[in-house]
Amino acid sequence: DVKVTQSSRYLVKRTGEKVFLECVQDMDHENMFWYRQDPGLGLRLIYFSYDVKMKEKGDIPEGYSVSREKKERFSLILESASTNQTSMYLCASSSLHPGQGGSEGVYNEQFFGPGTRLTVL
């Protein structure tokens, strides 16, 4: 089974701190994603990466950056944490590229980690 792990389940930081959220996947997936999840808003894509050292902005990249130095690891960085970044952060990975999948038996599926609940005080 695909396993996506996140470095912490719960994290408490202070305003202005630099925060690193780490994500590791063990299935050699090319694509990795960072989402944040807030009540009533569902999941919103922050950044994604389709290859080592490659990244693209999602819907809400402001205040965040990412790093992908190795294929299995994708890091989300909050350069200067703020209270409005208090949220649940979810990492995901997938093996297919956009446009692939959807045919019988081939699904464009993302595999999610358990999430990190970040509180910024």
């Binding site: 994604f48 819907d59 699904y107 999610f112 358990p114």
Partner: protein, 112 residues
């Protein structure tokens, strides 16, 4: 971007069929429709994906009308363990992963 709209919540009793409809009026030609399930304190889990007509697997069915402006996830004979949030997702086109768009989710509560 294909924005999705789905009901905020739905209640059901054990053994009933639950149908959740997702509206996606601006769906693009290359977009697929995907549904995920999320339990508390867990990440979402893939349930089913389709492009048009009907798709069925061991967990659910997905009905997509010809105009593809909506889709319906059908959960047959639900049990208490089906209580979860269900997300409708439209995207994964040939252009960019950046067009993925999750809905706000539907909280399904199954009671005895």
């Amino acid at each position: 971007l294909a924005k999705t709209t789905q009901p905020i919540s739905m209640d059901s009793y054990e053994g009933q069929e639950v149908n959740i409809t997702c509206s996606h009026n601006n769906i693009a030609t290359n977009d697929y429709i995907t549904w995920y399930q999320q339990f508390p304190s867990q990440g979402p889990r893939f349930i089913i994906q389709g492009y048009k007509t009907k798709v069925t697997n061991e967990v659910a069915s997905l009905f997509i009308p010809a105009d593809r402006k909506s889709s319906t996830l059908s959960l047959p004979r639900v049990s208490l363990s089906d209580t979860a949030v269900y997300y409708c997702l439209v995207g994964a086109t040939t252009d960019s992963w950046g067009k993925l768009q999750f809905g706000a989710g539907t909280q399904v509560v199954v009671t005895p």
